[in-house]
């Protein structure tokens, strides 16, 4: 008979650990199941001495365990002590494989090691890292087989087999090969998933014969040896036959299995297929399976302190007690400006009643949403945001109304009322605000940051549908018929749908029949034409513009090929509906024709100067297609004085955020390694403390609440973010000039390691948003080689240089 517990907690991360500790503190019968031989595997695997931060600082901690910012060792030590002190019932080596609800109530929890237990309630705190994939052959758990590698420098003179085909395996193999004999085992036939630099490195090593590689082998077993010089051997089946390798060590980097499959296997539903979607849970953290609770990163709360608080609260809820959520005082504080504010719950109820878009989501999601958001009660006539700002927050109207200035010259405005929303264009297209919005009487607005809004869109299908519908109508109206009412467009809106393209996908080909118009809603497109057997780029079209109208106005066939420069989305409008709209609307017709002839003239000019097209193609290949502002250096002017880098370092606490020398060059145009301030910044994708923001002028910057996790560094495809410690302070200009005290302006510190190296934070270009007069790199360039330009200037730039 399986043992029975009141609460089974799966996973000993911050959430699970805190829950188990609280249960132990209260004397509730519990079990904490952990697959690894240590607690909190994710934090355990941080590099030694890593400084762990305790954002958000304003949130109080509620847990029997201690947690404050400090080194990885100090934090794990405090937790181990707490677990021992409270006598938490931890079972290590118990990897939960299945959780099934029992007919009579409670759950049967089965583990990979055949252990079984019954629990009344289950708390899932397994995080998002997933379980590390093992070799899957006998001997996979021997001490000579390891699945992580902290410090490649720790081994030398050994024979090491590295198994895996991903970046982690390749990086390990290359680093180990410096002082070891390394053999690579790739269980596929190529290294398809690897980054380009890694791929080049490994292919070269294999080709030169310095690193033997087995493709497609079937490992059979690993054995430890007591005799001979090597500690063990690996037996494997190769296409040439059976082979054995004598080894000192095996390092297997096979990735981890995402936890989602397991979670769905427990009966928990995810709202969409998007990998960022989180399961819906109640305010008491209960999932759609009654009795099964979810806390921590898996529920969408990636920060340690949040997870620990939830662990505490979930035990309280299971015991049927009422706890005021830890965020209640914070929310109350945030809402205190709201006119007639009564209570947080009443305000949340108001929102659910008044704002249809937000009525779809659970009160818990709404709390989180409000915690991330700002609540405004602006005076009538105050500017909410101005046209051409680069902000990308999303606004919902809880009370009152706002006015959108559609046409500033003629002072034409439209009103948006309670329950409506705005700001979706900046959010979706990542470009400047299309219009100024002014507050109306009694306006109460929720301003939500991009990340929270995107999470909501991914998690709740209905929200996505509603926003897309409104987006299409508003985008078409503002681009095509800003002077007539939105109802005019009904037919066109009905026919429109959103189409997605991957980078390089063809939107339509030269010579195709023209049957639709595409309005770009995110990303950008290039227009090219076959001239003399060569594809010549004629133009670059950014989000907010349209393509394909030429075929509908004049000739009926496409006159050029249109491709997606980066991953893009367009609104596709049916040609017939669009033609009828043009016939009804003479102003639109005239405007389209004017733009049409301007475009034809520009294309013709470009055709005569194919070099210009080559420069555009080059810039697009460097990621300029998603840039909002890119640093370009004219190498015919650049005297390599590195004053740009020096100025960057001097104005940003001693670390330069740009690397002038690195990066490709074409026709003397050099694209240095420096932030492009992408329309949809890759770095923002996965920032636990949400520290990366976009300022009104478009600068993507990292705020001080960065926890130094390095996600942004990994997510940036252009390598422009790195983690840096603050270097030591420098002497002033005079004491350097007169007395030689320390490094002078623009010089590197004498001892770069003198700074606190453990407290590293991510640094990147912020376009010197806090300095007047623009970026220091451009201002400090003595020869005029460095400039920053936006995508709308590419065409003129290319033409000017060809």
């Amino acid at each position: 008979m399986a043992e029975r517990f009141q609460i089974a907690i799966v996973g000993s991360g911050p959430g699970g650990l805190s829950a188990a500790a609280h249960a132990a503190e209260l004397g509730v019968s519990h079990v904490l199941l952990e697959a690894e031989p240590h607690l909190s595997n994710t934090i355990y695997r941080y590099q030694k001495g890593k400084h762990v931060m305790d954002e958000p600082g304003i949130l109080p901690l509620r847990s029997p365990l201690e947690f404050k910012a400090g080194t990885r060792e100090a934090i794990l030590g405090a937790w181990n002590d707490g677990v021992a002190r409270l006598a938490v019932n931890v079972k290590h080596g118990h990897e939960v494989s299945k959780i099934t609800a029992q007919p009579g109530g409670g759950f049967l929890v089965e583990c990979a090691n055949k252990a079984q237990m019954i629990a009344d309630r289950v708390v899932l705190g397994i995080g998002l890292q997933g379980n590390i994939r093992k070799l899957g052959v006998p001997g996979e758990d021997l001490p000579i087989v390891q699945y992580t590698l902290d410090d490649p420098g720790a081994f030398s003179g050994e024979t090491i087999v590295v198994v895996g085909a991903g970046d982690a395996a390749i990086e390990n193999a290359l680093a180990l090969a410096k002082q070891n004999t390394v053999i690579v085992i790739n269980r596929r036939d190529e290294f398809a998933r690897a980054k380009e630099g890694n791929l080049r490195g490994i292919c070269k090593a294999i080709e030169e014969g310095t690193m033997p590689c087995y493709y497609n082998p079937g490992p059979e077993k690993v054995e430890a040896l007591n005799v001979g010089r090597k500690k063990g051997r690996l037996v494997l089946q190769t296409p040439q036959g059976r082979a054995q390798i004598l080894i000192d060590r095996i390092i297997a980097r096979l990735g981890a299995s995402a936890p989602r499959g397991f979670v769905e296997g427990c009966g928990v539903k995810f709202p969409s297929k998007d990998p960022s979607a989180v399961p819906a849970i109640s305010p008491q953290y209960e999932s759609n399976v009654p009795g099964l609770y979810i806390v921590g990163a898996l529920a969408g709360y990636p920060l340690i302190k949040q997870a620990m608080n939830q662990g505490y609260e979930v035990v309280e809820y299971i015991l049927g007690r009422k706890v005021e959520p830890a965020d209640e005082p914070l929310l109350r504080d945030r809402l205190k400006n709201v006119p007639n504010f009564r209570s947080v719950d009443a305000f949340i109820a108001d929102i659910q009643r008044n704002v249809p878009l937000l009525s779809q989501i659970t009160p818990l999601q709404l709390r989180e949403f409000l915690l991330d958001s700002e609540i405004h009660a602006p005076k009538p006539g105050a500017t909410v945001f101005a046209k051409n700002d680069y902000t990308n927050t999303f606004f919902s109207i809880v009370e009152g109304e706002v006015e959108v200035v559609v046409d500033a010259a003629q002072n034409r405005r439209i009103k948006l009322k309670r329950g409506e929303f705005f700001g979706e264009m900046g959010l979706i297209s990542g470009r400047r605000r299309a219009a100024t919005v002014l507050a109306g009487p009694g306006a109460v607005l929720i301003e939500t940051p991009r990340r929270s809004m995107n999470r909501l869109i991914q998690s709740v299908e209905a929200v996505k549908r509603e926003i897309d519908k409104v987006f299409i109508a508003r985008a078409l109206q503002s681009r095509f018929t800003p002077e007539s009412p939105i109802e005019r467009l009904n037919e066109v809106v009905e026919s429109a749908r959103i189409v997605q393209f991957k980078a390089g996908d063809i939107v339509f080909n030269e010579g195709d029949p023209g049957d639709c118009v595409h309005l770009i809603r995110r990303g950008s497109l290039t227009i090219s034409r076959q001239i003399g057997g060569k594809d010549v780029v004629l133009s670059y079209v950014a989000a907010g513009n349209y393509v394909g109208e030429m075929a509908l106005l004049g000739d009926s066939r496409r006159s050029a090929t249109v491709r997606a420069a980066i991953a893009s989305e367009t609104i596709r409008v049916e040609g017939e509906a669009f033609k009828r709209l043009i016939q009804r609307d003479p102003i639109l017709r005239a405007r389209l024709q004017a733009e049409y002839s301007a475009r034809t003239a520009s294309n013709l000019a470009m055709q005569q100067m194919p070099a210009g097209g080559d420069i555009i193609s080059f810039l697009i290949a460097q990621g300029a297609g998603e840039a909002t502002d890119i640093l370009l250096i004219d190498e015919a002017l650049c005297v390599r004085c590195d004053n740009c880098e020096k100025a960057c370092a001097e104005t940003h606490g001693g670390t330069s955020r740009l690397d002038r020398e690195a990066g490709p060059t074409f026709a003397n145009v050099h694209v240095p390694t420096s932030c492009r301030h992408c329309e949809h910044p890759h770095c923002m994708k996965d920032c636990p403390p949400d520290a990366i923001h976009r300022a009104p002028n478009g600068e993507v910057y990292i705020a001080d609440n960065c926890i130094g996790c390095g996600n942004c560094e990994r997510n940036c495809p252009y390598g422009v973010i790195h983690l840096a410690a603050k270097p030591p302070k420098k002497p002033g200009l005079l004491s350097w000039l007169m007395f030689g005290a320390g490094p002078g302006p623009g010089e590197a510190p004498y001892d770069p390691k003198a700074g606190k190296s453990s407290e590293k934070k991510a640094v990147k270009c912020d376009m010197c948003k806090d300095l007047k007069g623009g970026p220091a790199c451009v201002r400090a360039c003595p020869t005029g080689a460095a400039i920053r330009i936006g995508p709308e200037e590419f065409r003129a730039y290319a033409r000017n240089r060809s």
């Binding site: 015919a636 005297v639 400090a780 005029g784 400039i787």
Partner: protein
């Protein structure tokens, strides 16, 4: 619209115009002025031009401070350099008009000479800034200096491995050439680089010639070009050693071209910086001489 503007056409030649107006004004005043005796620094115009010149020198020297004031919002560096070049040039004229073209063996002329050296070293700097950036880009061919050095180290390892399979003599020659390969060094070395790889190439070729003698009959004495070797190799006797030799030749030739490129790169960079070693210290000397000039003029007045 942001475009690359050089220091010459900065802000539509603003400082060219400023310095032309200044120069023309000075010339007109000089021609119009009718001093007692010869034109000299002691007339009112002489003092005026002297003051303008001295202030200009102080302002030109301030460039060194401004360049290091990275947070300064007073103009851009490009504007400052443009003005530095144009106004610095007009200083030649102003100084001569100030002195009424009088020179002698004295402290005053020392200041003038120092000033001229500083200005002309600046002209050389401007010349290198115009001439060499594009040369450097072409020579680099999108590689960074570090990646070139890395590739050389790799080629060295390959060459040693190949030489090892051929003959101890060849191995020794290749090893010696690697040990002696020096990149960079003093300015003189940079301007007249010697390449050890050439020696190794020659020795490998000689070695091949010797091997070649019985097979290909009497070779010409001056058969030291690679093309001849290639002919020989393609002619026959393609055993493992000739294969390795051919690869060795390729490797050494590639290394040769890389060391050439990197040396050229360093050379060009040195040329773009070397003039500063005259320009800056002598400008300090000029400041001292100028002070002496001004003090002595007032002292002996």
């Amino acid at each position: 619209m942001a475009m690359h503007e050089s220091i010459f056409d900065y802000s539509r030649y603003r400082y060219l115009w400023v310095s032309m107006v200044l120069s023309l004004g000075s010339i007109v005043a000089y021609l119009w002025h009718d001093p007692i005796g010869e034109p000299n620094g002691g007339s009112w115009l002489g003092y005026t031009l002297g003051t303008i010149g001295a202030l200009l020198i102080l302002w030109l020297l301030w460039f060194g401070i401004r360049k290091r004031s990275y947070k300064s919002r007073v103009g851009t560096m490009r504007g400052w350099l443009s003005a530095h070049v144009y106004l610095g040039t007009s200083l030649i004229l102003i100084a001569f008009l100030h002195s009424g073209f009088q020179v002698g063996w004295n402290i005053h002329t020392l200041a003038l000479v120092l000033m001229l050296i500083v200005i002309f070293s600046g002209f050389f700097g401007v010349y290198t800034y115009v001439r060499y950036p594009a040369v450097m880009t072409r020579n680099r061919d999108s590689a960074t200096r570090q990646s070139l050095l890395d590739e050389i180290a790799e080629l060295d390892a390959q060459a040693l491995q190949l030489a090892d399979t051929v003959d101890p003599k060849v191995h020794a020659a290749v090893l010696r050439s690697i040990e002696r390969t020096e990149i960079g060094g003093s300015f003189i070395t940079l301007l007249r680089p010697s390449d050890e790889t050439d020696n190794a190439l020659d020795q490998v070729k000689t070695f091949m010639e010797q091997r070649d003698k019985p097979a290909a009959g009497a070779p010409k004495k001056d058969m030291s070009t690679m093309f001849a070797m290639v002919d020989f190799l393609s002619a026959g006797s393609a055993d493992a050693k000739s294969d390795a030799l051919r690869k060795l030749l390729d490797t050494l030739a590639r290394k040769r071209s890389l060391t050439d490129r990197i040396t050229r790169d360093l050379q060009v960079q040195a040329l773009m910086e070397i003039w500063l070693y005259v320009h800056v210290p002598l400008s300090m000397a000029l400041l001292a001489a100028l002070t002496a000039h001004v003090v002595s003029v007032f002292f002996y007045w």
